[in-house]
Structure formats: structure tokens, C-alpha cells
Symmetry: C2
């Protein structure tokens, strides 16, 4: 259920292949990640954001000038939750350090995310409307992860 | 769209009646809040959690002994997002200070949340299975809030 391994560049066990069905489904889902970080003056922040999972990083993208970029920096700590909104809940959470890369236009990972979240055709239309806008790629390298799947809980087996 | 009012005990404008349709629907929805705070060693934390909105506080409950209680304290800063997982996205975010109250059993707000999220009957069954377990109520008094509704964006009017 849980793997809080030390941060030594090693991927947490539950994010290593072969992924559990629960983790794989969440990473392939159209559920936005909810990303949190610590903002100015120590205040917690949270935003829903598209992601793609590369096999070892959770990759997100934002547009140059976004307010969050005033608070995110190379090496900043972040945590993300990818979880279902309907009962019985399934969830995957992970945390680690962010790395940021500025681009002249849209990130490949953003195009991939748009295709997954919106479908191939609508994703292309979406990206076309944003073509040329500079993005900043946010790469979260997880040092810990935890997952849960309430559909496998003994409670539901008894009461479900 | 956005109201980052100063923290002076006054409810942010967009959480004051009459609520916009977007904000009202999110506060009445079965979407769990995603709650974030700053954990030990300054690491950002995030969990999905049931909530009820009382009109001026976002009220959540956790069980005594939950790991998060080692990191939450009276006056701790927290932020919450209540947002849809399907496009076009609608979201409500708010942040402020937490107050914590320990109880001998289930919180009334937790019973109300269970009824909303699971339905009246399943909510009662759920709570019956947890009867007598001590809870800690988390009350978030928002000092800022922001909302967005992509279904009202000019982009979708053009392309949708």
C-alpha cells in the first residue's frame, strides 16, 4: 500500500514496473493531478493540472507568466494526488522535487496530455489554439509514493 | 473569477451569498476536497477528503491517530481545491487557517458528509460501522478563494 523510500534517486517501489492495476489505471486516467507546493510566506498551494507519467517522472506544463511560477523553482518540493472522485475511492499520491525547463512553445508532454485528456482530435485543436505560447515544463521526480484502493477493502467486501 | 481579500475574518466575496452557480454546484457536489498543508520539514502534503460547507467554513473530519494529525495544528495554514475531473473544468480553491476539535466519536459534519457522498442510506451504514471512533474535526476558515469555469471561456464558445 505504501512506500516511503529514502530520496536517493531510486523510484519508489509502487511506481516501478510492473505497476499494480490501481496505479496503472490512475496514471493512464483522464483525472487531473492535484499538485501542491509551498508558496510564498509558507502558505500551502494547490492546483488541478494535466500530467503525463513517463515511467519515472510526473510531467506537467504551465504557461510562462503563470502566477505559480513565482513560487516554483528548481528543486522545489511538490506533492501530487491522482485520485478518483467516486466511491469506492482509489488514489495515488507522490512527492519529490521539481525540475523546471523553459520552452519557446508547447511542450511535447503537454501535447501528449491534451491528446489523452481531450482525445486525439480535440487535443490537437486545443494545442493549435495555443501554438507558439511559451511553456515551462514541471518534472516531478518522486521520492515517495503511496496508493490506496478502497474497492479492495475488507469493509466493502463485508458491506458492499 | 478571483478574490484574494485580506485575512481579516471576512469571508472572501465569492463565498458570500448569493453564490455563483459554479461555486454553489461545487460546494454541493460529491467531489472530495483535495486538502493541502505544509508538513514536517516544510514538505507539501495533499489528501482527498470529504467536506461539508457550512456557509462560512469548510469542515472536514479525520480519525484520531491519523498520520496527518502529527502535522496539523490549531491555526495551521491549509488550502483546498474542489474541482471537476472532466473537461470543461470547473474549480473552486480556497485557503486559510485550520481550527481543530477533538471528539469522542463521529462528528455531525462527518455524518452529513457521508450522507451527501454516499447517499442517506449507505451513509448511515458507513457511519454505523465507524460508531464510537474518535474524530478530529478540521475547520478551514477561508481568507481567500478563487474560482474558474472553463465552460464559460471564450475559447469554448469559439471552438466548443
Amino acid at each position: 500500500m505504501s512506500d516511503h523510500s529514502a530520496s536517493n534517486g531510486k523510484l519508489p517501489g509502487l511506481l516501478r514496473p510492473a505497476l499494480s492495476r490501481n496505479v496503472a489505471l490512475l496514471l493512464e486516467s483522464r483525472i487531473p493531478a492535484r499538485l501542491s507546493w509551498v508558496g510564498l510566506h509558507g502558505a500551502p498551494r494547490i492546483v488541478p493540472i494535466w500530467f503525463v507519467w513517463t515511467g519515472d517522472q510526473l510531467v506537467m506544463a504551465t504557461f510562462a507568466g503563470a502566477a505559480k511560477l513565482a513560487e516554483l523553482y528548481e528543486g522545489a518540493l511538490a506533492a501530487a494526488s491522482i485520485d478518483t472522485e467516486s466511491f469506492p475511492y482509489r488514489s495515488l499520491r507522490m512527492g519529490g522535487h521539481l525540475s523546471l525547463t523553459s520552452l519557446d512553445g508547447l511542450a511535447d508532454e503537454y501535447r501528449a496530455a491534451a491528446a489523452r485528456y481531450l482525445g486525439e482530435s480535440a487535443g490537437r485543436t486545443w494545442c493549435r489554439s495555443l501554438e507558439g505560447r511559451p511553456q515551462v515544463v514541471l518534472r516531478l521526480t518522486p521520492t515517495w509514493a503511496s496508493a490506496s484502493d478502497m474497492s479492495r477493502s475488507p469493509f466493502l467486501a463485508e458491506h458492499g
